[in-house]
Amino acid sequence: MLESLITWVNAWLGEDVGAKLAYITNGKHLLWYASVRFTLIAAFGSAAFAVFFGLIGAALKQATFTPFRWIGNFYTTIVRGVPDLLFILFFPLAFEQTVEYFIARVKCGADVVAAATTWPPCPEAQWLLSTGDYLFMACLSLGIVYGAFAANVIHGAMQAVSKGQLEAASAYGFSRRQVFWQFKVRQMWVYALPGLSNVWILLIKATSFLSLLQIADIVTWAGRLGGANYFPRMGLIHPDWRWKYYLVLFIFFILLTMISERFFEVLQTRASRGMSLAGVKSDV
């Protein structure tokens, strides 16, 4: 079956094109295509975390208890004042070290931990993370960073929810918590959509950092496949082709952005059916 396919392609498009097709579908290239899954998992996973942290951040920013408000504002300000890259590298390492510290307390003893000059204090406390663990950490840290952006968006969207709706709800005897979660939060989504769309696009672009967290993602593979390929027995197979592979990634991310924009446009039209949004500032 596969043999006849190859002969058919060669006959139809010529040997040259056939060889090129064979090259870009070899095992390593298939692994490259498959590694797109890490990018997508990280994007969707961190989007879920970002919405979660965004909701908490927005709730804190408008809490009546002042220290909560401080925490909310501190969270959104700090994350915006420091590069996302720093957080993306910091959180997984910080989590790993914290876990290792507790393992060390149990396995090495408190005096060894106190006297230790290197990390981990004793070899038994080493916690080796798998790709899945790193992926989860990446989702969490991207979620925390972009959650701060989402918190700003959601906070703004909540201000846009009509006061009359909330007053009506409390007049019907709903408690403060119910008014917040069941009326404010339910109604703010349509106002938050344009802003959340921007956060999502930022997030997709940030997934390119996965390679810095020991994950063999599309960026790592592009570097591996593109590098000059030389075997002592076969000579130079190809020179440095990395620019071709990075160009493909460049286009891949542009397409991803394009698809996301279309999707959010459709979602926006659907979500705003029957709502009069004229005069509402959606660009929070």
Partner: protein, 254 residues
């Protein structure tokens, strides 16, 4: 008292990371002044009546805003490497072109140019039509209309968003040395913090100090931009001061 303060690990990190911080500042301070006029050109180009110029500007802006800066760095570095043998070596400029201190700002300029052009384009579109028509009715030449009416309005409207863009560009300089080669001791904040971390694994200390450097310089940038904002709005009574907030088309490094 002062000596014992300087002996603390925290203050020692502050001293060690002062020079790396200059590298981040260098990348930002070279890219911003070059990117600014280019961005205005692209913004005018995007709104231009000429189809070819408009499509080119739109394509450029979309491509560089739609892809991660991380990939843009890798792409440009590898393209420059591929051009080394046929172009840079024969011309004798290979050392210069492939140097991170040149290539870093080059990519940052292209990136900030696209983001700023989008900001300025939005501002151009919201320039009050009445003012432009009034200027035309007064018999001003198109160049004069731009210089006296469109330009000051555009700058005033775009400034808050442009301030955010400048700060994000400064943050984006953290990526440079993750993609380009590090030459000797030419290291930026992230690089040096990473190096210190590998020595004693004191993650919280080194990354906090590096983060504080970024935070402080960002605050200074916001403050400086606020002064400019005040000046741009000096004819408007009761103008609101610039606040530290998220803008819709803001971005991060990537």
């Amino acid at each position: 008292m002062f000596d014992s303060l300087m002996q603390t690990a925290f203050m020692q990190d502050v001293v060690i990371l002062a020079k790396p911080a200059l590298f981040n500042l260098y990348f930002a301070l070279v890219s911003i002044p070059v990117g600014f006029p280019l961005a205005i050109l692209f913004a005018v180009g995007k709104g231009s009546g000429n189809k070819l110029i408009s499509i080119f500007s739109r394509g450029f802006i979309y491509a560089f805003r739609g892809s991660p800066l991380f990939i843009q760095f890798f792409m440009f570095y590898s393209i420059m490497l591929a051009l080394n043998k046929p172009l840079w070596k024969p011309l004798g400029v290979d050392d210069f072109i492939l140097h991170p201190l040149f290539l870093g700002p080059l990519v940052l300029v292209l990136n900030t140019c696209a983001y700023s052009a989008e900001i300025f384009y939005g501002a151009l579109k919201s320039t009050p039509k009445g003012e432009v028509e009034a200027a035309q009715a007064m018999g001003m030449s198109p160049f004069n209309v731009f210089r006296k009416v469109t330009w000051p309005n555009m700058l005033r409207l775009a400034w808050p968003a442009y301030t955010n863009e400048m700060v994000f560009l400064f943050h984006a300089t953290a990526i440079v040395y993750f993609t380009l080669p590090v030459i000797n001791e030419q290291k930026d904040l992230m690089n040096k913090a990473g190096e210190l971390f590998e020595k004693d694994y004191n993650l919280f200390l080194h990354f906090t100090v590096a983060g504080l450097y970024f935070l402080t310089i960002s605050m200074v940038l916001f403050w400086l931009a606020g002064l400019v904002q005040k000046r741009l709005n000096r004819h408007i009574t009761g103008a609101k001061p610039l606040s530290f907030r998220l803008f819709p088309r803001s971005r991060s490094s990537q």
